[in-house]
Symmetry: C2
Subunit: 237 residues, 2 copies
DNA sequence: GGCTAGAATTGATTTGCGACAATATGTTTT
DNA sequence: AAAACATATTGTCGCAAATCAATTCTAGCC
């Protein structure tokens, strides 16, 4: 990990989904106390249980937030792309420690904001607090959605839903690229890589989509939507 | 559902984990705009998607927060007991709607606070916002824990962990009572009632605990802890 | 370019848990 | 107290997905 004293530009703070709302003076202050962190291809950033001195903004690259089981199995709870901030929730806990592990998946560049200092900034501004409350609420509902998916849906359905979501992010195009290796996507969806592979192969065979490496082209969106809401595709042929 | 105009006492607000922090005047105001809601044994309180006009405090009884799949399967995402507040996160969403269903499991008494009004109260007080940020952060981490458990642990391990947690809540006693029917506990843990029954029977046979109806007595805590962290108990005999 | 390591696919086999079914036990109602 | 119903237990069976294993594909790297 390479932590540098290099200055963050004022404008850089604007990329942060919450801190962009700061008045100019406080934006300046946050920028001054920030650090740039550069990570290689598969470097740890912090461990679960570490004191949470910093909250982060991903400027470029990709990261995974994950937990480890007693037997060393890993569960990715979030994939972080450029533009996402993370670890803010730690600021408001009585014991400020990271509740997950974090490692890079690609060469990445992060901005690290001083948690302690941000807390005092937040204390001065209910508007800012509201931004943050909104963000945490959204994340909470996102997690509830994941829990529902894990309990109520099978592998096929979860994967179909994920693909549809990626598709939606691309606007009206019918083509998209996985943000990251299938291995990691599979783990995020709580299926084994082999299962992911088989399910996607099944979709291809049913004529729902085609793939070349990480590029997916959805041919039959309604069919994918039908699968995503419970119907069986291979069975119908 | 029986909604009454009956007055909430000033002191009643003190039972709320966040609103108890309010200055007297605002506490008074919150109390004045609150309602008491009484529910029978299995009555719905709100549906997923309903406009979230109220946030709640459970004064007595028991409730379930749940989602429904397309084929009607239900997943309980939270069991609410006396003293717990819920649905606060809706206050900070852009579209204020309940993200889950809510029904009573027993005869229950709730206090309903006016969401709109509370929002304006929160806007005046960063301290209050911080209380709420803390609460949402804790909930978020709780959910991350649930997701981890669902992905990384099997039924036995999840159940063992749950039982240990219930035990811990009772302090140093080795006896506790399930807060609610096993059916609901099982659903909350994302196992079928039959599986829950079998796993508990297994624990009894291994001499880890004994049960009479909803009363559990843990005989061998270390053994249960071993199971909770991945070891197999029945296999070891 | 070819070389090497990790990622991805495909196949064969196992298994944990759900589905279904049949009692048994407990709880509310009259 | 008996009836009527919900909850809980126990048994058998089947299947979705994990595991194990063997290639094949792909992307960095010298």
């Amino acid at each position: 990990m390479n932590e540098s004293r290099e200055t963050i530009s004022f404008a850089e703070v604007d990329r942060h989904p919450v801190l962009s709302q700061l008045p100019a003076a406080l934006k300046q202050r946050a920028a001054e106390r920030a650090r740039v962190v550069r990570l290689g291809r598969a470097e740890p950033l912090f461990q679960q249980g570490d004191p949470a001195r910093w909250v982060y903004l991903c400027r470029s690259g990709q990261l995974k937030l994950f937990r480890l089981s007693d037997n060393g199995d890993e569960k990715i709870v979030n994939l972080i792309n450029a533009g996402r901030s993370f670890a803010e929730a730690t600021m408001f806990m009585s014991e400020r420690r990271y509740p997950v592990y974090c490692s890079s998946l690609k060469v990445s560049e992060l901005v690290a904001f001083d948690a302690e200092d941000l807390v005092s900034t937040f204390k001065t501004s209910p508007e800012l607090c509201f931004q943050m409350l909104g963000m945490l609420s959204r994340r909470l509902h996102e997690k509830i959605g994941q829990i529902e998916a894990l309990s109520l849906q099978n592998a096929q359905t979860r994967i179909a839903n994920y693909l549809l979501e990626e598709l939606r992010k691309m606007g009206s195009a019918s083509r998209f690229e996985l943000p990251i290796g299938k291995k990691y996507v599979a783990n995020f969806l709580s299926v084994k890589a082999e299962t992911f592979s088989r399910v996607v192969a099944g979709f291809e065979q049913a004529g729902v989509l085609t793939t070349h490496a990480r590029n997916f082209t959805v041919i039959d969106v309604p069919a994918l939507e039908r699968i995503a809401s419970g119907a069986s595709p291979a069975a119908s042929c």
